[in-house]
């Protein structure tokens, strides 16, 4: 059995939190560049150019690209033949986040109590941590710095099976249209269909961890992703909601089996600052 230490997890998580906020993935930068070629709005082009420049500044000066450095969301694949020595993996991840956010001058954006709004004492913790047990002896940590603006415009609905594919598409398009400028377009749109109430939300979130441009391996879903992308970009919302034909940089769809009576659909929106990092231990 392989052993991975608590300290190693803390260090790697601390670094990935900073990298996620300073260094926008190449997939996102390339999506900006390709959108710039197709955008017909002058203001839209100007915004895309400023976003490319902003990413350059963040990377070279090692400052966060956005002041909303987010809630850290983790999906951790833990190999069942791996032993974590020195403490709980949850504590290790939270300690890594606290260290990374403090050392990187990232913003502390968590309240402990959602009603009283009392601020959390652990710097930008607790994180949201999903653990998936997998075969093997490795740990793969996927991290996202998820902003509040786009999360606030996300939505979940229990559709009727009779609503079918048309109902699903309409719900997704309506969610993007209602979000408009608030979610900081151009967006990455994550969709979860099936499972149950909480699983579809998780699927939508998980889909956002796939790189931009990556299509579903299931041909019917890859086709749906392409169709949705085209329809969303016809809404006219454009970069920052100021009009244009770049409303989405990408659309991701994940599905799971569900109850005969159900058709759960969740739409998790991600702003253009789609900050995702992965480390393998």
């Amino acid at each position: 059995m392989r052993t991975i230490t608590y300290e190693e997890i803390v260090e790697r998580v601390s670094k990935m939190c900073q990298e996620a906020n300073f260094d926008l993935g190449q997939d996102v930068v390339e999506a900006f560049q390709s959108a710039l070629k197709n955008e017909s709005s002058e203001t839209g082009k100007d915004i895309l150019e400023q976003l490319i420049l902003n990413a350059d500044i963040a990377k070279s000066e090692r400052v966060p690209m956005c002041q909303d450095t987010g809630v850290s969301v983790f999906i951790v694949e833990v190999g069942q033949d791996c032993h974590i020595a020195g403490g709980s993996i949850y504590n290790a991840i939270n300690e890594g986040v606290k260290k990374g956010y403090e050392e990187g001058y990232l913003r502390h954006s968590i309240v402990d109590h959602p009603i009283t709004r009392e601020k959390s004492k652990g710097y930008n913790t607790p994180s949201i941590i999903h653990i998936e047990l997998v075969p093997g002896d490795q740990i793969v940590i996927h991290m996202s710095a998820k902003g509040g603006g786009s999360e606030n415009m996300s939505s979940l609905k229990m559709l009727k099976p009779s609503d079918g594919l048309e109902g699903i598409k309409k719900y997704i398009l309506d969610t993007v249209a209602i979000a408009g400028p608030n979610a900081c377009p151009p967006l990455v749109v994550g969709v979860g269909i099936g499972g149950n109430f909480e699983r579809c939300a998780y699927l939508a979130k998980k889909s956002l961890f796939r790189p931009i441009g990556h299509r579903s391996e299931r041909p019917e879903l890859a086709q749906l992703e392409n169709e949705l992308m085209e329809e969303i970009n016809k809404l006219g919302i454009g970069p920052q909601g100021m009009g244009g034909n770049t409303t989405a940089l990408d659309v991701k769809v994940e599905i799971e089996p569900c109850h005969i009576a159900a058709l759960p659909v969740a739409v998790n929106l991600n702003c253009h600052a789609s900050r995702h990092k992965e480390v393998r231990l």
Binding site: N54, V63, P64, G180, L235, G236, M242, G243
Partner: protein, 187 residues
């Protein structure tokens, strides 16, 4: 980029001449405030107390910056979603607030109050906090210091880039811009 230069506090004649969709570069003094500071200002007004700064003719920027690194004036400082401030905004407009900088939709109540009080709403580019920070030349906390990034800061800005979203006549660029490109897509 072709943009109008605007000084803040904004001259009344200039303010009226700004039209939805105009790109501007703002220089001068602006004040930061977001959710928690708005709540406190609203509570102060309800108790009949004064606001922590004279709001007449001023511009508020909805922002909660990241901590400044050693040697920096301010950390990343892009706009937050303005709609969360809608509940508190008409009472500030009634007391002379003239400009707001943020991102995202405003409520009909805010738009009506803007028309009545002749005010303008600008959007800065959400998610470009590293770039925007370059236009901020000084930062001084003036109230609610305990709120950290949510405190009220007085900022001096130079060529701060923004777009007029809602002008003093109530025209909303989010609606105009979207319709224009939706029609293009339908053709």
């Amino acid at each position: 980029m072709c943009a109008n230069k605007v000084s803040s506090p904004i001259d009344e004649q200039v303010l009226i001449s700004l039209k939805a969709g105009d790109r501007v570069l703002i220089s001068g003094t602006i004040y930061t405030a977001r959710d928690a500071a708005h709540k406190r200002m609203s509570e102060a007004l309800q108790k009949g107390e004064d606001l922590p700064f004279n709001i007449k003719g001023q511009t508020i920027y909805y922002v909660g910056p990241t901590p400044a690194k050693p040697g920096q004036i301010i950390g990343s400082a892009g706009p937050t979603t303005s709609g969360r401030m809608d509940k508190y905004t008409p009472s500030l407009l009634d007391r002379g607030l003239k400009g707001m900088i943020g991102k995202g939709y405003r409520s009909q109540e805010v738009i009506d109050s803007m028309k009545k009080n002749k005010a303008v709403y600008f959007a800065a580019i959400g998610g470009s906090g590293a770039l925007i920070a370059r236009s901020i030349k000084s930062m001084e906390v003036i109230a609610y210091e305990d709120l950290g990034p949510e405190a009220i800061y007085k900022l001096t800005v130079e060529n701060f880039p923004a777009v007029v979203i809602i002008d003093s006549e109530g025209t909303d660029w989010y609606q105009v811009g979207k319709e224009q490109f939706k029609q293009q897509a339908d053709q």
